[in-house]
Symmetry: C2
Subunit: 299 residues, 2 copies
C-alpha cells in the first residue's frame, strides 16, 4: 500500500505573520498534528477540497483553488493564500508520487482551519496526499441512490447565509448521516432534495441529468456546491453534441431522464442506475466518454 504524505501549512492565509521559514513543512501523516482545541476539531470550523491526482498532477487544480477561496469567503475565514496552497499541495503530491511507485491515481485533500479555540492562534492548513479506493465498479455498473430531504428551502443561500448551504465546510456530519441512511435503505448514495421539491446534490457529489441533448445540473444559487468535475464535463459537452444547462430539476425529471450521474473528484462520473428502488436508464456510452475524458485530463 502506498504511503500517504502530509504537508502542514503554518501560514495558509494572505498576509499572515509568522516565522521566517517556509509557509509549510512536510510531516508524518501517521503522527498527530492537531490539538483537541483546534476549531476544525471542536466546531468543524474550516473548509476543504479533495482533488484527484494522476501521474503526479493535481487535476482541476485551479477550479479547486478557486472553490477553496469561495468557501473561505462564505465562512468569513481570512483569504487563503492560493500560491501557498498550490505549492503545498504540489509538495504533498510530489512526495506521495515518489513514495508510491507505479501509482497512477491518488488524491490530495487540503484544508483550512480557523485556528485554535483556546490558544487564539490564527488559521492553519494542511494538505494530505494518499491513495484512492478502486471506484471502477461504481463508475461502470452505476450506483443506487435514495432521495433524502435536505430540510432546507432553495431560498436559504439568499435569506439565511449562516446556514452555509453550498459551502464546503469540515462540518459534514449530516452528509455522513445521510450516507448511512442510504446504506440502511440498500443504496450507495443520496440525492438531497430541497423542501420546495428541487433536486440538489449528493453528500459529496454533483448531480448531472441528461434530458435529450442537454446535460442539466442544479444552479449553485439554490444552495449546492459548484462541482469541479461537473464543470469539466460541461466544458467538454459541446464536443459531444450536447448542450449544458444550469436550472431546476425535479424528481419526475430525474426518473424520466436519459441518464443521470453523480460526479466527484475522485470517484468521477458514476451513473445512477436506481432511484428509491426504481430503475433508471443508464447511458453507457456517455458514461464511458465522461470517464475517459476525466481520466485523460492532465490539468
Amino acid at each position: 500500500m502506498a504511503t500517504a504524505t502530509l504537508v502542514m501549512i503554518d501560514r495558509p492565509t494572505r498576509g499572515q505573520i509568522g516565522g521566517d521559514g517556509a509557509p509549510y513543512r512536510r510531516e508524518d501523516p501517521l503522527a498527530p498534528q492537531l490539538r483537541v482545541t483546534d476549531l476544525a476539531v471542536t466546531r468543524g470550523d474550516g473548509i476543504f477540497e479533495t482533488a484527484m491526482v494522476r501521474e503526479g498532477r493535481i487535476l482541476a487544480e485551479e477550479r479547486h483553488l478557486r472553490r477553496l477561496a469561495r468557501s473561505a469567503a462564505m465562512l468569513d475565514l481570512p483569504e487563503p493564500d492560493l500560491e501557498v496552497y498550490r505549492d503545498a499541495t504540489r509538495a504533498a503530491v510530489a512526495a506521495f508520487g515518489a513514495a508510491a511507485e507505479g501509482m497512477a491515481e491518488g488524491m490530495v485533500k487540503y484544508c483550512l482551519s480557523r485556528g485554535d479555540e483556546e490558544l487564539g492562534t490564527g488559521p492553519v492548513g494542511w494538505a494530505y496526499a494518499g491513495p484512492t479506493p478502486d471506484f471502477s465498479a461504481a463508475r461502470e455498473e452505476g450506483i443506487a441512490v435514495v432521495l433524502l430531504d435536505r430540510g432546507l428551502s432553495t431560498e436559504v443561500p439568499e435569506t439565511a447565509p449562516w446556514l452555509l448551504a453550498g459551502v464546503k465546510t469540515l462540518a459534514y456530519a449530516v452528509n455522513k448521516a445521510a450516507l448511512r441512511e442510504a446504506r440502511r435503505r440498500g443504496a450507495q448514495d443520496v440525492v438531497f432534495v430541497s423542501t420546495d421539491g428541487l433536486l440538489l446534490e449528493g453528500p459529496t457529489s454533483t448531480l448531472i441529468v441528461r434530458v435529450g441533448d442537454a446535460l442539466v445540473t442544479p444552479r449553485p444559487q439554490i444552495g449546492v456546491l459548484p462541482g469541479t468535475t461537473q464543470e469539466d464535463v460541461f466544458a467538454q459537452a459541446p464536443a459531444w453534441g450536447l448542450r449544458t444547462e444550469y436550472r431546476d430539476v425535479r424528481e419526475s425529471e430525474l426518473l424520466a431522464a436519459d441518464g443521470a450521474w453523480l460526479t466527484s473528484s475522485t470517484r468521477l462520473a458514476c451513473p445512477i442506475r436506481r432511484v428509491d428502488g426504481a430503475d433508471l436508464a443508464v447511458d453507457v456510452s456517455l458514461t464511458s466518454r465522461m470517464n475517459a475524458l476525466l481520466t485523460a485530463r492532465t490539468a
Copy 2:
C-alpha cells in the same frame, strides 16, 4: 493563568478491544493529539459535552453523561462507556484543580470521535479541562439576541433524522456562523427559529421564557438539544412557586414575556434584554435566584 489539562481516551466505547492498560491517559493539552485524518477533523463526525466544574466537581455530571449517550445513539456511534468517561473527565478535572490554585470555576469538555478515516481505527475520545471566561456581565446585565432562521421545520427529527437536529455533534459550523451574524447585527447571541415559526434554542444554549408563573422551554422533540442547565432550573422552579412547561413558543410570546433566558453549562442563565433591537423585560430577581442556584450546585 490556569493550565488546562487533557486526558486522551483510547477505549471510549463499550466492549472496545485494545491494549491492556488504562482506557485513558493524561497528555499535554498543548501538544497535537489528533491526526488530520481523524473523522472529528475531516467531517465533524463526533459528539461532545461541556460541563461546568466547581471546586473540583463536575456539575450536572450525570445529565451530561446521559446526553452524550443520547447523541451517540442519534449519530449511529458505538455506545460510549460512561464509566470510562466519568473516570476520565474526573481525572482531567482533578489534574486541572491541582494545577489551578485558587481556581473556583472551570469547565471540562469531552468528546467522542468516530475514529480515523484513513486508518479505519475505532472511536477515540478525550476530556479537556480548563478555565472559563468571566461571564458575570452577561449573567447580570443580560444579552442582546437576534432571531435567525434555522432553516428546518420542527418535523425533521421525525421525518429526516439524518439532519441531526438536536444532536450535539462536533459539526458546529452553522452555530458559529450564526453567532458571527449576530455580532454583525450588534447582538451577542441568537435564538434560532424554525421554518414553521417556533422558537428553538441558541447555538450553544437553551431558551427559557417566563410567562406569568410558568417557566416555558421548547420541547426537545422539535429538534432542540435537551438542556442540562435548563433541567436544573426546572427542577428547582416549584420551590420558587413556578410551574414548568415544555411546549411551543413563538416570537410574539417571547416579546411579551415576563423574562427570558439563554441557559448553558458554563455561562449559566443569561437574561435576554433585547430581541432584534426591541427591549425585553429582565426579571432581575429570578435571574439572581437562577444563577445562585446554578453556582451553588455541587453535583
